[in-house]
Amino acid sequence: MEIYFFYMFAGGMILTSLLMITRANVIHAALLLVLTFFFLAGVFVLAGAEFLAAVQILLYAGGIMVLYLFSIMLMNVEVAVRMRQWHRQGVVVLVAAVLLGLEIWAVLGEVEFGAPKQWEWSLGATPGNVEALGAVLYTKFLFPFEVASILLLASMIGAIVLAKRTIER
């Protein structure tokens, strides 16, 4: 049962992401990426990371992608639709990507992972994923957590300085 859902989500992700990188219209690409993130949230739920799935939708789809759409609408992107879309080195990249993909496939085929370990809780139970994640995040990873907040602050200042119009006084 689970495996079919996984194939559905994985297939959807690969399809939408392939469509995403081939669109000429930027808004279409952004909307397709949102769809990819939905499928990704489904994969996260199947992997027992339901909190992360909600974070994926709330932050990525509902936050970052709306920011993208907002910025795209502020920019003048209609001209780019009629221009050449691909770099000249595209063919080389394609060949390299296919080769790398085959290599990963070959390597993964030889590795034996064995049966996964079990969580101490079942999916969707109340003392479960959220509590476990919080317990780890705010004890063992407290210092990286604070560093991440400083990173956010720095990028916020950077974004404001870069995007702000210089005012002549």
């Binding site: 990188i21 879309q85 996964p116 991440a148 956010l152």
Partner: protein, 100 residues
């Protein structure tokens, strides 16, 4: 039960698609979107290992990756807006004023 290999293959394929998008497209916004896709491919691998080892560390790292992605989106879009204000350009190979 989903085998671990499936997560790794999915992550690898998405990462490759993202990398192809970054290297093949001229449009700067699509390149940023492809970078988001690559970051998410990494998340698939993290969460897959978190599932396999029954260890929360992978999910914590996925949260940090999302944080970094948010920072990257904000700064990247700010750069694009600044570029777009001075001169209408969205293609990365036209941004070559520093080239000597």
């Amino acid at each position: 039960m989903i085998p671990m290999t499936h997560f790794l293959v999915l992550g690898a394929v998405l990462f490759l698609i993202g990398a192809m998008g970054v290297l093949m497209r001229r449009n700067a916004i699509i390149i940023l979107l492809s970078i988001e896709l690559m970051l998410n491919a990494v998340n698939v691998t993290f969460v897959g290992f978190s599932r396999h080892l029954a260890d929360m560390t992978g999910q914590v790292f996925a949260i940090f990756v999302i944080t970094v992605a948010a920072c990257e989106a904000a700064v990247g879009l700010a750069i694009l807006i600044a570029l777009n204000r001075d001169r209408t350009m969205v293609n990365v190979d036209e941004i070559n004023l520093l080239k000597w």
